[in-house]
């Protein structure tokens, strides 16, 4: 599903150049649930941003579902993001003046789907994350866990190839975190490829594979025995 070869990325800050990614080689097969770990400054967020086409690598190749991701202009990047990727953020990033239903329907709006159709679909995904009765609520009327579920429903709505989650449990308490992880595991069970950036070992143990980053290089890439989140709730 994802193939990355010899990826380099550096940032210029004034006269200094900061080499963040120093040659990453990395493959993800379809249906995998991968966590990317590392201390801050290890380059894990940068890697996720490049995977999410929010940022572009300096050198190296990136192939997503057989499509070479290179020379992106804003327009094409937007189209690829909409078609291939679903984002889950630490701070949810819901649009606060839109109801839960409208938030979930937003990626479908950008796909050019008709209103009635996308509302139906958005409702189905809210149902799936267990929030159908909350669909008319605004984000600030929901709890953190509920917000993240809405965000997951939104990420799923466009039926993406890959879900990218940046610290999805970073703003949640342990119990809620495990509930959210349970949902993510269920979605993965259905065969969806998911990448999670996290610095919490217990969350990482709930995935099927842990990739450890340090100073811009992968130092460890091991399969783990998945811990089901539901057991810990």
């Amino acid at each position: 599903m994802i193939t990355i070869k010899d990826l380099h990325k550096s940032y210029k800050t004034g006269n200094n150049s900061l080499h963040v990614l120093k040659g990453i080689n990395f493959n993800v097969a379809e249906g995998e649930l991968v966590s990317i770990m590392g201390s801050s400054g290890s380059g894990k967020s940068t890697l996720l941003n490049i995977l999410g086409m929010l940022d572009e690598a300096d050198t190296g190749s990136y192939t997503l579902d057989g499509v070479a991701i290179k020379n992106l202009n804003e327009k094409i990047a937007a189209r690829y993001r909409n078609k291939f990727l679903g984002f889950i953020f630490q701070s949810f990033n819901l649009i606060n003046y839109k109801s839960a239903l409208d938030n979930v329907a937003l990626p479908l709006y950008y796909q050019g789907m008709k209103r009635s159709e996308r509302m139906d679909r958005a409702e189905a995904y809210l149902e799936k994350v267990g929030l159908a009765q909350w669909m008319d609520h605004l984000p600030n009327q929901l709890s953190g866990g509920q917000k993240q579920r809405v965000a997951i429903a939104r990420a799923l709505a466009s039926d993406p190839k890959v879900l990218l989650a940046d610290e999805p449990t970073g703003a949640l308490d342990t119990k809620t975190s495990y509930e959210v992880m349970d949902l993510i595991q269920q979605i993965n069970d259905e065969g969806r490829t998911i990448l999670i950036v996290t610095h919490e070992p217990d969350i990482a143990q709930m995935t099927k594979r842990i990739v450890n980053l340090k100073d811009g290089l992968i130092i460890d890439d091991t399969k783990v025995n998945q811990v089901r989140a539901l057991q810990n709730v």
Binding site: N49, L54, A78, R79, K83, Y97, Y110, Q111, R154, S158
Partner: protein, 415 residues
């Protein structure tokens, strides 16, 4: 523009941010409101001045004698010039083909006009029949004086409407009555009204020959009035009129032995030239009002731009989210632009309608000579609407462009 989905997005955004939208709209609405009021007042001033000028024929030329100020051919300065009948007869005959109307005037100031117990002091003017048209007068009842009256020096009089009101009150039984002018009986044959208003209606007209005989004027006349035949264009009319006045001036100065450079011995008042001056003035006033109005709108547009920039800043994170979800740059530009055009157009139209309503209701109540019937015509209203839409687009474009250029990764980091 006609994308229903986009409209729903806009209305959602607007309805969730009422105060912000209201404040944005207010600056535009007040700008357009002020523009409309200014243009209305400009138009009102034009109408007012035009009405003041309808008092006399627009192309009339009046000649008044004065006092010489320069020594010429052995004659001392300070000599009073007295026009005579032959001045009128010669100039009329000489320019017969060019002239439309012509009249000499023999004037008595403070003539006492009496009817039964009522009397008053009015200007008594001995004139020719053409004078009616030179003064733009029209008859309320009866007739103006005619050529036979002048030839036979009949003792008839035409009263101004004001004079009739003073002497006869509400009675309409005026024609055929006799009034006394300085003790001599004149038969009333008509009553006239003059667009110049009360001042111009406080006069009585008698045949010039009668006036000269009865009030011992001899051959003296006080002034000359002419109008020239109509020309195709204003420029031709002005040229002909200037040509005629200079001929007239040369002749009269020659005949009365006046230095050619002496400007105070003969006054020639060319209405056409004055009219042009006033139209130029009106043009200037209108341009000034437009200028002020446009500046007001520019201020409004800058205000809207500013607010839109703040809105974009405020929505940076939202824009980042939208981009991450697959919004294309064009769609972001469209969203911001659409909102600002909608807000400016709506607010502007509100201001426009409020301005028009105010002019419509308050306009007729204005009681001053200088502003009359202040209105804004349809074309002007239309051009303000166009200005609005362009303004909305300009006000929205820069913030929108800025919004579209925000990188999603940076926007998402924005806290």
């Amino acid at each position: 523009m006609f994308d229903l989905e986009r409209w729903q997005e806009i209305f959602e955004t607007i309805s969730k941010n009422k105060l912000r939208t209201f404040l944005t709209g207010l600056s535009v609405a007040s700008g357009i409101f002020i523009l409309v009021i200014l243009l209305g007042i400009g138009e009102g001033m034009k109408n007012g001045i035009e009405r003041e000028f309808q008092g006399d024929a627009a192309n009339a030329i009046f000649v008044y004698p004065g006092v010489t100020t320069k020594e010429y051919k052995g004659l001392n300065p300070g000599r009073r010039i007295q026009l005579k009948n032959d001045d009128f007869e010669y100039t009329s005959a000489e320019n017969k083909s060019e002239l439309e109307f012509k009249s000499a005037v023999f004037r008595i100031f403070g003539g006492m006009v009496t009817f039964e117990n009522e009397s008053g002091s009015y200007r008594v003017e001995g004139v020719y029949p053409d004078y009616q048209f030179l003064e733009n007068s029209s008859m309320v009842s009866g007739r103006f004086l005619n050529n036979r009256d002048v030839e036979e020096s009949t003792k008839i009089v035409v009263l101004g409407n004001r004079v009739k009101m003073d002497l006869f009150k509400d009675s309409n039984d005026v024609l055929g009555k006799y009034v006394e002018i300085s003790g001599i009986k004149f038969k009333v044959v008509g009553v006239y009204t003059d667009p110049g208003g009360e001042r111009e209606e406080s006069r009585v007209f008698v045949p010039i020959t009668t006036a000269q005989k009865v009030f011992s004027g001899g051959n003296d006349i006080n002034s000359l009035s002419y109008t020239l035949k109509a020309k195709e264009t204003y420029e031709e009319a002005l040229a002909a009129s200037n040509n005629f006045t200079s001929k007239l001036e040369t002749y009269l100065k020659g005949k009365h032995t006046i230095a050619p450079s002496d400007n105070s011995a003969i006054y020639i008042n060319n209405m056409l030239e004055n009219t042009k001056r006033f139209y130029d003035l009106i043009g200037m006033i209108k341009m000034f009002f437009w200028g002020v109005g446009i500046c007001t709108i520019i201020a409004g547009v800058v205000g809207v731009s500013n607010i839109m920039l703040i809105i974009v800043k405020e929505r940076t994170r939202e824009i980042g989210v939208r981009k991450a979800l697959g919004a294309q740059p064009l769609s972001i530009i469209g969203m911001v632009l659409h909102e600002s055009i909608f807000v400016t157009s709506f607010a502007g139209l509100t201001g426009l309608i409020m301005g028009l309503v105010l002019l419509d209701f308050v306009g007729p109540m204005i009681q001053t000579d200088f502003i009359y019937n202040p209105t804004v015509n349809f074309n002007v209203a239309l051009s303000t609407v166009v200005i609005l839409i362009v303004a909305g687009a300009v006000a929205g474009f820069f913030p929108a462009y800025r919004a579209a250029r925000i990188k999603p990764i940076i926007a998402l980091r924005d806290e």
